[in-house]
Symmetry: C2
DNA sequence: GTGAAAGCGCTAACAG
DNA sequence: CTGTTAGCGCTTTCAC
C-alpha cells in the first residue's frame, strides 16, 4: 500500500524527475525509449500525483464570480448567499476568492451590465443564473472568448460555452407535484396550474413544470381530474385569480409553479375560499409559515443553497485538484411538508 | 487580497519562521516579546495556514476502517459500499486508505470479533454502525484507549468516546410517516405500526419511529384515527400479520418501521388484502418496484450512502485539513414516492 | 530562546 | 533530449 512519488518512478525507470514530469504532462522532448519506460511504470502502479504538492507550487489566487438576481428583489435567491458563504469560508485558505454580483431579475439591461463588469475583472470562472435566455447565451460567449470558465445553475440554457449546469429536472418536478395533488384532492375534481411571473422571463421554467404536471394527469385522462391553467403577471394576480375562481367553482387544488404560493394564499384567505389544496415551490419564510400550519400542503424544494454551493465547489475543485467538472448535476426533487420541513431547514 | 505566509509574518515581526511556527503551535520556548508581536500580527491579518503545505510535509498514510453489517445478510447496507467507494476514489491520491469490514447483523459475537480484528490493525479512525448497544459502548472504549478516533452512523449510542454521529431524527421521521398516512387513509380508519426484527437489535430504532408516529396521531386523539402496534420477529411475520388483519378488519394503513415493507406486501397480496395503504423505509430494490407501481405509497429515505460518505469525509478532512468534525449531523428526512424516486436514485 | 536549514512532492526554468 | 536546481508554505531538527 505504498504511495509512489515521481522520485520513485524516476529511479525505477532510470531517468530523472524532470523526464518523468515531461512524460506526465506530455511536454514532449522525451526520447521514445524514456517515454515508453516511464509510461509503462505509470500505468503499472496507477500513478496519482499528490494534489497537495501539485497545488502548492501553483501559488495562484483563483477568482470566481457568482452572478445572480438580487435577493432583495426576489427572496428565492437568499439561500444562495448562504451557499456562497459556505464555499467562501471553506476555500478561502486555499487561495480562492469568491465575489458576489447581483442583477435585477426584471431587467435584461442590468443583467448585461453586471456581466460586463464581471468580464472586465477577468476572473478565472463565473457561476451564474441565466435568467434571460438570449442575453445569457451572448454573455457566455463573451466570457469564453476571454478564457473565463462559465457554469450555470437553477436555469438551464443550451450553450456549448457553458461547462456545467446544476439544477433540477423541472418536467419531473411537475409530475411530482401532480402526483401529490392527485393524492390530496377528491376524485374527478378540478385543479389549476397558476403561473405567476413579473416579466415572463421564467417562461421556460414554468412551461416545463406545467408539461410535467399535465403529463401525469394525462395518464388518467377521461376518468379523472380536469386540469386548467391560469397564467398571469404578478400585478394582475389578484383580479385574475378571483375572476377565475368565481367562474370555476369546483377548483379543489392549485399548483403554483413559482415560489409565490403565499401570494395565492393571501388572496384565498381574503376572499374566504376554503378547501382548496395548495402545492408550490421553495422554502421562503412566507411559504414556510403556511406550510407549518398546513395551509400549503406541500412545497417542492429546489435547494438553491445546495445548487450554489455545488456549482462553486465544482469550479474550486477543478482549479485546486484538477477534478473534472460534471456537465450536469440534477438534484433530488425534495417533497417538503410540515413534518420534514425542519430537517431541510437545518441543512 | 494578498494571502500571507509565515515568511511574511516572520519578516513583519522581525523574527524567524521558526519562531512564528512555535507561536502558532504553542510549542513554547518563545520570549514574551516575540510571542506578543507575532500573536498580534496573526490576529490582525487573520492568518490561515495553507492546508496544502501543512499536509505535504506530513507524508503519512491515514488508515480508516469502516465497520458495518454484511450487506449480503441485509441489503439495506448495500448503498454504504457505494458511499465508501466514492470516498475511497476521492481521497486515495491524498494518501487515505479506507478498508471495509462486515459483521453479521444477527450476531453480537461477530460484531465483537470484527472490531477486535480492526483494533489490532490500529487504524487512525473507525466509522461504525453500532447495531448492538452494550457491545458498541465497550468497543468504542477500546478504540479510544488505543488512540483511535470513533465515529458512528445510522444508529446512535450515548458514548463520550464517539466523536461524531451521522444519521436521522427517527422520532421526527415517525411523525413524517404519520402525516403522510393521515393524508392517504380515510377519516377515522385504523392504522397499524408493524415492527419486524430479526433479533430485536433494532429495538431502539423502531421505538423512536413508533413514538413519533403515535405522537403525531396523538394530536388528533378522540376525533380521528386509531393506531395499533404489531411487533414480530421476522420468521413469525406471516402468521402474526394474517391473524392480526383477520381480527382487525378495518385496517386501512400499515406503517412498517424497517426496510422490510416488501415482505408485508407479499403477504397482503398472497392473501388478497386490498385497499391497505403502505408506508415504509429505504430504497431497497424490492421496495422500489412496489413504490413504482404505487403498491407502496411512500418510502422514507434514510440515505445510507450519504451517511457513509459523510461520515468518512468528516474523518478525512479532519486528518488532511484539520477541520473540526461535527459531533452530530442529521440528514433530511426525504419523502419518496414513485415520481421523485428517480431523482434520488441518480444521486 | 532563536534562526538556519533540510525536506515533503511537484513544477518549471535552465544549462548542457 | 535530459538532468539539475530552485522554490511553493510549512514543519521539524539542530546548532548556537
Amino acid at each position: 500500500m505504498k504511495t509512489y512519488t515521481i522520485k520513485d518512478i524516476a529511479k525505477l525507470a532510470g531517468v530523472s524527475k524532470g523526464t518523468v514530469d515531461r512524460v506526465i504532462h506530455k511536454r514532449g522532448k522525451v526520447s521514445q525509449k524514456a517515454f515508453d519506460a516511464v509510461t509503462k511504470l505509470l500505468e503499472e502502479i496507477d500513478y496519482q500525483p499528490n494534489p497537495m504538492a501539485r497545488n502548492l507550487k501553483n501559488n495562484k489566487i483563483y477568482d470566481i464570480c457568482l452572478v445572480l438576481p438580487n435577493p432583495e428583489e426576489d427572496s428565492f435567491w437568499e439561500p444562495c448567499i448562504l451557499g456562497a458563504n459556505q464555499a467562501i469560508e471553506e476555500f478561502k485558505s486555499f487561495g480562492v476568492n469568491i465575489k458576489l454580483f447581483f442583477y435585477s431579475p426584471t431587467s435584461t439591461k442590468s443583467f448585461q451590465d453586471v456581466n460586463n463588469k464581471v468580464l472586465k475583472l477577468k476572473p478565472d470562472a463565473v457561476l451564474l443564473t441565466p435568467l434571460f435566455y438570449k442575453e445569457s447565451v451572448s454573455v457566455a460567449k463573451n466570457y469564453q472568448l476571454a478564457g473565463i470558465i462559465v457554469s450555470i445553475f437553477n436555469n438551464q440554457i443550451d450553450s456549448k460555452q457553458v461547462v456545467s449546469f446544476v439544477g433540477q429536472n423541472l418536467f419531473q418536478s411537475g409530475r411530482v407535484a401532480a402526483q401529490l395533488m392527485h393524492m390530496i384532492v377528491p376524485e374527478k375534481s378540478e385543479v389549476v396550474i397558476v403561473h405567476i411571473d413579473e416579466t415572463f422571463n421564467n417562461a421556460i421554467h414554468m412551461q416545463q413544470k406545467e408539461k410535467g404536471f399535465r403529463d401525469y394527469f394525462g395518464e388518467f385522462r377521461g376518468t379523472n381530474n380536469n386540469v386548467s391553467v391560469l397564467s398571469v403577471k404578478q400585478e394582475n394576480l389578484y383580479q385574475s385569480l378571483i375572476e377565475f375562481l368565481k367562474s370555476n367553482q369546483n377548483i379543489s387544488g392549485i399548483f403554483v409553479t413559482t415560489s409565490k404560493a403565499y401570494k395565492v394564499v393571501e388572496i384565498l384567505q381574503q376572499n374566504n375560499f376554503k378547501n382548496i389544496k395548495l402545492i408550490g415551490y421553495d422554502l421562503l419564510t412566507e411559504n414556510i409559515d403556511l406550510l407549518k400550519s398546513n395551509i400549503i400542503s406541500f412545497l417542492i424544494h429546489q435547494s438553491p443553497k445546495t445548487q450554489t454551493y455545488l456549482g462553486l465547489t465544482y469550479l474550486v475543485e477543478h482549479f485546486l485538484f484538477k477534478k473534472e467538472i460534471p456537465s450536469k448535476k440534477l438534484l433530488p426533487i425534495d417533497i417538503v411538508n410540515s413534518e420534514n420541513l425542519g430537517s431541510y431547514l437545518e441543512n
